[in-house]
Structure formats: structure tokens, C-alpha cells
Symmetry: C3
Subunit: 168 residues, 3 copies
């Protein structure tokens, strides 16, 4: 079972996804794509960490998500990958081959045992950004979200903390 | 009955909320958080005022929403508070204690008699703003919307003027 | 039958609208409002063109959409107009009388024979833009989307490639 949880910044999508994971009764693994490169990020990571309890196993991975899924996904387990847009941002910074890694992510998700919940961001509903890199990021994130939603068994849009099922 | 009406800029959320209020048959009170600090704002306030009819009582309050709710909410009445993101913006400008005022707003809403309709903005579905204050505003608005949606009996997302019930 | 397909940038709204058109069994006419003024735009137009097949008739029109609808709409045909926000942007650049053209668009849509699918963008769910022209564009796009949604028989919000019916 693959679930995609999408929503705006500070929409409550991570908390929603965590509840989904905990209510599954499976063993939860938190796959964090965030790296504490600055203070603002460090505070956000710490806030997320505090909200989650001790039952979670934690894996930190900025780039190789397909590898982590291959290693960690297993029957009886549920992976929460938080979040895809940060992963994309990490790949841009590292000048990784994004097309190739997205293709490998699709393969890894298709082959994975156990359940997976992906968290992503809606970033395309504002005005066109003036910055060319921001426009490229927006294009890549939108294309990635479309591919993930096509693969997913269930897609939920979180609005003000409330999940709206978009693909049942 | 507490209703939260959310939506993007110029999505028709205020007009939607006004119709909700008028169709209730209760005595309508318009609580405006907007202040005409510049010409653009003055034009918007005037456009809103013209659309509403004479049956509305008008209360203007930039900061003390909990106080207004305490004074104005009453059985047989319906308050339209338009809008929460502007209230947040006013508090940021006034360097008010936002956490304390949001906590008091939650209390005031829980204790209020009569009906209340809150209008707010979705601001987190664009690209991450470069401006740190804009990021802080986005975080505060998202967190406020989540708390309001949790308290509300009903949450409606307005898309192109059409209300989509998110929390029935 | 008038359908409005709305969604964020790179949300899959064009592909969704194209599928809608092709599954209708009517003769498809693609009305492109895009002009290849720069390389980025030329690439996007080319990608769209490649995805569509040879069965489409193509009409390119940057400004006079009401005229195109008057000429092209006909029983047995389905027009895909992609997209309204670009049309708005073209009118702003050309300093056209937007109010008058939007009024004529509404008339043309009301009188049109055959089916029409309109594609538009959600642009109001990000932070308030610092740029005054961007704010004006956002206001105009929101107002246009509301008018189109009020006229439409069906409104669909596309989220990560998945259509959510907003007005059934």
C-alpha cells in the first residue's frame, strides 16, 4: 500500500502522515530527507523529532531514497518518507541526475514490500516565481508529484490539518 | 456553530462567507480586521462594503479579536470575521504576543454563543518565499489555520468561488 | 457543455483536459494562447504539441479568444482553450481592455455551440507577492476564474494529476 500525502507548507501534512503510520499497527520507520544545514532547519527537524515517539526507527538520507527503500521496506513495516520536495531540493544542490534517480525511485516503490507513506509539498499554486531556479524547482516538484500520485494507491491533500482524499 | 472558510487570494471566499451568513437568517455582524493603511487596501475595503447590504452591523478591530468575540457573539447573531490572516499580519506589525492572542482566540471561540464564520487565506501552496518574514508569516498562518480547523464544526475550501466542504 | 479545469503549475491540468477532450469522441480543436516569446516558452509549447496527436486542429490566438470561440465552436466539435491565465497575461502586456474582453468572453461562451474545455491556473494560494503587477495579475486571474466557474457546467481542480470535481 503506497500513500501520497500532499499539502501546502505548514498545512499539517507531516502530522497527518504520522497519524496514518501509527494507526496502521505496523512497525514505523521514519525516513528523514532533511539535513540541518542552518538553524531554521535544525529547529524544524527538532520539532518534528519531539512530536514523534520512541517507537519510531529513524533513517536519515538526503539523496539515495531508492537505496533506503530497498534496504528498509519490508512486510510488517511502514516507511514514512518526509519529504519528497526536500529530497528534490537536495538533489538540485548536489547536482545529482534527477531523472535517473526519480526513475529508480519509481522502481523501488513498485518493488517494495510493506507499506510506504510519502509526504510532499504543493508548490505550484502561487504566482510564477521571478527566480529561474525556483521555476525549475516548481516544474520538477509538480512532475514528481504527478508520477508519485499515479503510482500511489491513495492520495490525500491536507488542508488546514484535514485530509481530503483525492485518490481513494 | 463555528465555520472556517479558507481559500486563496481572490478565490471568492469573502462572498461565499457572506452568503453563508445571510442564508442563516440570524442577525449578521461584520468584524473587519482590515485597516485602510494605503490606497490599495482602502479600495478593497470599499468594494467589500459596497457588496454587503445595510442589514449588517459593522465592527472594525485590527488586534483584539478575542475581545470583540466576547462582546459581540450572542444567541440569534452570526459574526463574520474577515479575515484571520490580516489579523495575524496586524499582530506582526504591532509586535503583539501572537501565541497568547491565538490562545485567547481559541478560548473566545469555544465559549462564544451564537454562530461564527471565520475567513482565512491559504498561503502555503506557492514556492518557499525568499523573504524570512514572509516565511515566518506563512508558518504562523498555517499553524493558525490548523488550530481553527480543529475547533471548527465545518471547514470549507473555496476554489474559483465554489465551496468544497473539507470538514463536514 | 462548458468545463473549467483549474490547478497549480505543473499539476497535470493540461494533460487532464486533453484526456477529457479525447474521451468525448468529438472533433478536437486546440486553442493555444501561448506565444513563443522566449526559449523557455518555446520548449513548453513544443512539449505540449508532442503530447497531442495529429487528430487535433490547432488555432493560435494570444488575445482575441471571444473571436476564436465565435468562429470555431460548433456542434460536434470540442474546443480546448489552454490557458486563460496566459491569455490574461497577454492582454496585460498588450494593454488591452481586460474588462471588455472578459465580458465578451462570457458572451461568447454562453452563445457557443458544441463543447468547450477551459484550462486555467490557481495562482492565489501562495504568499502575497511583493511586486504590484503580480498582485494585480493575481486579482485579475482570481476574478476571471470565479466568473468562468460560475458559467461552467463542471469545474475540476487537478491535484498531482488527479481531477477533483469541485462543481459536478
Amino acid at each position: 500500500m503506497l500513500t501520497l500525502v500532499t499539502g501546502g507548507a505548514r498545512s499539517g501534512k507531516s502530522a497527518y502522515a504520522e497519524n496514518l503510520v501509527l494507526s496502521s499497527g505496523l512497525d514505523p520507520v521514519y525516513v528523514a530527507t532533511a539535513a540541518a544545514h542552518d538553524q531554521e532547519m535544525a529547529r524544524r527537524i527538532e520539532a518534528h523529532r519531539k512530536r514523534r515517539g520512541a517507537e519510531w526507527m529513524l533513517v536519515e538520507e538526503e539523496i539515495d531514497l531508492p537505496g533506503v527503500i530497498g534496504e528498509q521496506a519490508a512486510a510488517g513495516r511502514i516507511l514514512l518518507i518526509d519529504c519528497l520536495t526536500l529530497w528534490l531540493s537536495n538533489m538540485l544542490l548536489a547536482e545529482a541526475d534527477i531523472d535517473e534517480r526519480v526513475a529508480r525511485l519509481c522502481d523501488a516503490l513498485s518493488e517494495a514490500q510493506g507499506d510506504i507513506v510519502l509526504v510532499t509539498n504543493e508548490v505550484g499554486m502561487g504566482i510564477v516565481p521571478e527566480n529561474a531556479l525556483a521555476r525549475r524547482f516548481r516544474d520538477l516538484a509538480g512532475a514528481l508529484n504527478q508520477r508519485m500520485a499515479a503510482l500511489a494507491d491513495r492520495v490525500v491533500l491536507v488542508v488546514s490539518g484535514i485530509g481530503v482524499t483525492v485518490k481513494p
